[in-house]
């Protein structure tokens, strides 16, 4: 009942927050566009045969010399910008979401166990988290990427780029989850329902995942949205630095890196349209994250 009321209240607050509504709409639009990219997009930007150099460097439709077929113009390869962006957003979202899922599973699992068992296990997990916190996320991700380059044989490196990138981002984001899960689990451990469950002789895994986990989901959800934004930014940054994805399977960051080459020439759309798109996506996710935080933290209301 209380959970239902809370949901209801959240919905009520949502309807009365114009910025949250706009943010949700933008995010939904981008996510839908990314999901249905292969139906919406004019060409497949990964298939070199599907576009021609003759259509290269066409401006968006509202400028002179544009081809109405390409609404937002084309890049130097003749690649349709809309198609490139939609496929890029899809790749960015896939990497961001899978990294987030891995980070959440590792972080929440370790945090729950640390809060539940306490003692030496807790100390070890938290010391690892401390060391990890001393290294900023982007450094960790770069490092893991560098190690992967050293360990993996050159032949399979290109095929594993997405997996390496995902893992690098996931391993640099798990700490937030672990710390939040641990802190909230500590609070729950003193509650009667948890004590009762332990007294009844239920298995630790059952107490942790069936009893405690549902009661700490709120704060974890907030971390999830904030970290989704971080994951997407991290991927874009790595790809921009040329460490992430190669130019033949561009994510949003790769597109911006390619666009940088046109900074000094007149072809502004190649750089600024993917950039705007990335900013819109991250800003809307961050606004939603702020909104969720306000909901789950009544003190701020």
């Amino acid at each position: 009942m209380i959970a239902f009321l809370k949901k209801f209240e959240g919905l009520w607050l949502f309807v009365h927050s114009p910025s949250a509504i706009v943010a949700a709409m933008v995010a939904t639009l981008i996510i839908l566009g990314a999901i249905f990219a292969s139906w919406i997009a004019l060409v497949n930007p990964y298939d070199l045969a599907s576009f021609s150099l003759f259509d290269g460097l066409l401006p968006p439709v509202w400028q002179d010399g544009a081809n109405p077929k390409y609404l937002l113009g084309t890049d130097d390869q003749g690649r349709d910008m809309i198609s490139a962006i939609l496929y890029g957003a899809r790749l960015s979202l896939i990497i961001g979401l899978s990294a987030l899922t891995i980070a959440a599973v590792i972080g929440v699992g370790l945090g729950l166990a640390a809060g539940y068992y306490g003692g030496r296990f807790d100390a070890v997990v938290m010391r690892i988290a401390d060391v990890q916190l001393a290294l900023p996320a982007i450094l960790t991700a770069l490092l893991i990427d560098g190690i992967a380059r050293g360990i993996l044989p050159a032949a399979i490196q290109q095929d594993l780029r997405v997996a390496v990138l995902t893992l690098a981002i996931a391993l640099s984001l798990w700490v937030n989850f672990a710390r939040t899960a641990r802190a909230t689990t500590f609070v729950q451990m003193n509650k009667e329902y948890v004590q009762a469950a332990i007294m009844m002789g239920q298995r630790p895994s059952r107490v942790m995942f069936v009893h405690i986990l549902p009661n700490i989901l709120g704060p974890l959800l907030v971390i999830m949205t904030v970290d989704l934004a971080s994951a997407i930014l991290l991927e874009a940054t790595l790809s921009f630095l040329g460490i992430g994805l190669p130019a033949d399977s561009p994510s949003l960051g790769t597109l911006i890196r390619i666009g940088m080459q046109f900074l000094l020439s007149g072809e502004w759309w190649i750089l600024w349209i993917p950039t705007l798109f990335l900013i819109a996506l991250v800003v809307s996710i961050n606004i939603l994250g702020d909104f969720l935080r306000d909901i789950f933290n009544p003190r701020l209301r």
Partner: protein, 324 residues
């Protein structure tokens, strides 16, 4: 107090050992050092001899002890890529990164603290709303995009400032500084702002939250009731009490500044440690990667140690706790 300092120092040593161990494992297990050091034409026997000479067949623990000992003496080994001593490559690049980071930090504090105080004191004002909305957008724009925007605006369109390199530098001992020439400052400005913007939003938000918390406290209400002038109340009573968290921010932000300097240096081709690190990742130059890691961790641990000591200096309550 002494107990506290000693305890913090022991902790710092353990963090450094952990990082050194990480760097050592990188060097030892990512790729074979011998194949990296020798060419294709080196015979297997020669390779084995080198392996024995370098002590790579010794037990793991004694190798790690020797590695740490070498590091303490400033011997960081040789780069796989350039064959130069890593220590030289790093010390050459330290000034550029530190100058960039410190100037960025100063920018973020000079703008962030006043903005945080203002938005806390006038929470419903139109300016506050504007500033808060701007910072939310600011947090969401990746550092490299901010850099590109600044380059585009001030470098390309207006042509006011250079967009890459360090400009003119002055050599002071081993320290190559760009803080003493006009062209050096002009080159520093855009990267420093780029690096400072993200930190600025964090500073502002934290100062604001802290200030609002303090303004709600009993002693502020009491001072208000006593008729202390508002200006004195805000800046003497309230702001001073937000200083402890602000110092914490500086400590925490240092890590962020170093990390994002990798990105900023890449955008502006700033010849600092970040750019070196990026190159070393691209070429899998493990020794340079490892040493970069150790150096960064050392700065980080050092700054946090100083921050902890500053707490004690600023907040008399922490000194009293020991006496009790």
């Amino acid at each position: 107090m002494v107990y506290f300092i000693v305890k913090r120092m022991i902790q710092s040593v353990f963090v450094m050992l952990a990082v050194a161990f990480l760097a050592f494992s990188l060097f030892r297990f990512v790729g074979d050092p011998i194949t990296q050091m020798t060419g294709v034409e080196t015979s297997v026997a020669d390779q084995e001899r080198l392996r024995e000479e370098l002590g790579l067949n010794d037990p793991f623990v004694s190798q790690f002890i020797r590695f740490t000992g070498d590091m303490l003496q400033g011997d960081f080994g040789y780069s796989y890529r350039t064959r130069q001593p890593v220590a030289d490559m790093i010390t050459e690049r330290v000034p550029a990164t530190l100058e960039l980071g410190v100037v960025a930090l100063i920018i973020s504090l000079l703008v962030g603290v006043p903005a945080g105080v203002y938005t806390a004191l006038k929470p419903r004002g139109i300016w506050t709303q504007t500033i808060l909305m701007t910072t939310l957008v600011g947090v969401s724009i990746p550092t490299f995009v901010i850099g590109i925007m600044l380059i585009f605006l001030f470098g390309v369109q207006l042509g006011w400032l250079p967009t890459f390199g360090r400009g003119g530098t002055v050599q002071i001992g081993n320290w190559e500084s760009s803080l003493f020439t006009i062209s050096g400052w002009r080159a520093l400005l855009l990267p420093a702002i780029t690096l400072g913007v993200y930190q600025l939003t964090l500073t502002m938000r934290l100062v604001r939250a802290e200030m609002m918390e303090v303004m709600r406290s009993d002693y502020i209400r009491f001072a208000m009731a006593r008729g202390v002038p508002m200006r004195k109340l805000h800046y003497k009573h309230a702001l001073v009490n937000t200083m402890v968290p602000v110092i914490t921010i500086i400590g925490l932000q240092f890590g962020g500044v170093i990390a994002f300097s990798i990105v900023t240096e890449s955008v502006f081709q700033w010849p600092g440690m970040g750019l070196l690190f990026l190159e070393s990742i691209r070429f899998v130059d493990i020794p340079v990667m490892g040493v970069y890691l150790v150096v960064i961790a050392f700065f980080f641990v050092l700054v946090n140690l100083v921050v902890d000591l500053l707490y004690v200096a600023i907040d008399p309550r922490l000194r009293l706790r020991d006496v009790e």
